[in-house]
């Protein structure tokens, strides 16, 4: 029973993503299902913020998580995110071709054909919000075996962010907490500025990494061995689909989806390390990441919020990550995300946590660096 519970609790995103696709297909006001569900998550996360659970292990110290099942779910999510884009593209096609407003019944489902401008906006936001959640699978798979790494790249490429897989492993994990890591937001930076700087910095790193790898292997930069270029090629089917569905409007919709998705991705980076400091080349310790492990955040984001443990034991599967008493905001990602959207409010909120970090977590070198901010 415990095994069942531990393994199904991470199904919130698959179920809600499918719900979002269902809403896009059914049409009418249901188009907004994705936005509604995201709002529901904010409420659930906020009201359960004080519930924190430990990872579950049996009396022999073995995890209840079933790797093959969790991996199957993560791999299947690639197809769910593809379906999400197909559903949105279909709605854009209907809008551009001014499909008549009527209903049809397909396999017992009553589908409202045609879409208004306001509902089209809802469709793009719904799809963007849930496409962005793909990061949780892209992230987990980036740390695992070769086929998982490729799946990570494919999932991230649906959001135009296949650079993430390389930058996260080879740059963020190595340099977090200092200026060599664009994904670590220094004190004073807001989430909007961070999104662009982090995205650009990680793209550049992926380019440099691949250039260096190809040089070592004496291969030409312009070739299909170039994984930096391949990452963008993986995004091409989405571009072709949306241009086919709606021309310039379709492309604008896809770009909006990518902006929303990348904003969510960078929001997670922002919340995970904002203002924390680590001396260059020093070992990564639990204190170099913010933990967000309230129960809803933990289950929804497949434990991506257990950053402190993850950055020290990067090879550990998400269901085995635990509370290691790292610095903690005390609230979940959804609640904190809302606060980050208003930079003055975020700075006010985070000040007491940074003061606590400076006093109780930082070593002398880190305290010295902190004084420069």
């Amino acid at each position: 029973m415990k095994t069942l519970f531990v393994n199904i609790r991470y199904l919130i995103v698959p179920i809600m993503s499918i719900g979002t696709i269902y809403g896009l297909i059914i049409g009418g006001l249901y188009i907004w299902t994705g936005v509604f569900l995201f709002g529901l998550c904010i409420i659930l996360d906020t009201i359960t913020k004080n519930i924190h659970l430990k990872a579950d292990f049996d009396k022999n110290g073995n995890s209840y998580g079933i790797k093959s099942l969790q991996y199957a779910i993560m791999y299947l999510m690639l197809f769910v995110f593809i379906a999400l884009q197909l559903a949105l593209a279909w709605r854009i096609y209907q809008y551009v071709n001014t499909t008549a407003f009527d209903t049809s019944i397909i396999y017992g489902l009553t589908i409202q054909n045609g879409i208004t401008t306001i509902n089209l906006i809802g469709a793009v936001i719904s799809a963007g919000l849930w496409a962005g959640i793909g990061i949780i699978y892209g992230h987990e798979l980036s740390h695992n075996k070769k086929q998982g790494f490729l799946m990570s790249r494919l999932i991230m490429s649906l959001s135009g962010a296949s650079h993430f897989t390389y930058a996260h492993v080879y740059q963020h994990h190595l340099h977090l907490g200092n200026e060599d890591d664009p994904a670590t937001a220094p004190r004073g930076r807001n989430i909007y500025m961070h999104t662009w700087l982090s995205h650009a910095g990680q793209c550049k790193f992926s380019y440099d990494l691949e250039k260096s790898r190809l040089e070592k292997q004496e291969k030409p930069f312009l070739s299909l061995s170039n994984k930096w270029i391949l990452g963008y090629i993986y995004s091409l089917p989405s571009v072709i689909l949306f241009i086919w569905a709606g021309g310039f409007l379709g492309l604008a919709a896809l770009l909006t989806l990518w902006i929303i998705a990348n904003f969510e991705l960078e929001a997670l980076n922002f919340m995970g390390h904002y203002g924390l400091i680590r001396g260059k080349g020093k070992n990564v310790e639990h204190r170099h990441s913010w933990d967000n492990d309230s129960v809803f955040t933990d289950w929804f984001f497949i434990a991506i919020g257990r950053q402190a443990d993850h950055h020290v034991r990067g090879e550990t599967y998400f269901w085995e990550l635990d509370d290691v008493k790292g610095p903690n905001y005390g609230i979940g990602y959804f609640s904190l995300f809302l606060i980050t959207l208003i930079p003055p409010l975020f700075r006010k909120y985070v000040k007491k946590h940074l003061d606590n970090w400076d006093t109780n977590f930082a070593n002398d070198e880190e305290k010295k660096i902190a004084q420069q901010f």
Binding site: S68, N144, V169, Y170, H173, L174, L209, R213, G314, E315
Partner: protein
Amino acid sequence: MFKFLKKKNKNFKAIINSSMYKIDVKSGQNLLSAALLQGIPWPHKCRVGSCGTCKCIVLKGTIKPEIDFANVLNAEQLKAGYVLACKTALKSDIEVIVKIIK
């Protein structure tokens, strides 16, 4: 209920620095985590294959690289047979050399 999904264990042995240490590497474990769990002070830092601190040379046996080592190791190191222990699964018993600093 889900026992049928659990993989059967296939364990191998790793001989480190000409029998200085002998460890068991369980199915699903990488070389570094197996060594650390068995108390060997194997040098490491990031544990995700990005820093290169855990590099070692495989003398005998077959391994399964979990990432492309060329992202971290240079051409000479690759030619010399270096691998990253944190991203090395075993396909057979192996012998390795690693610089251990006590």
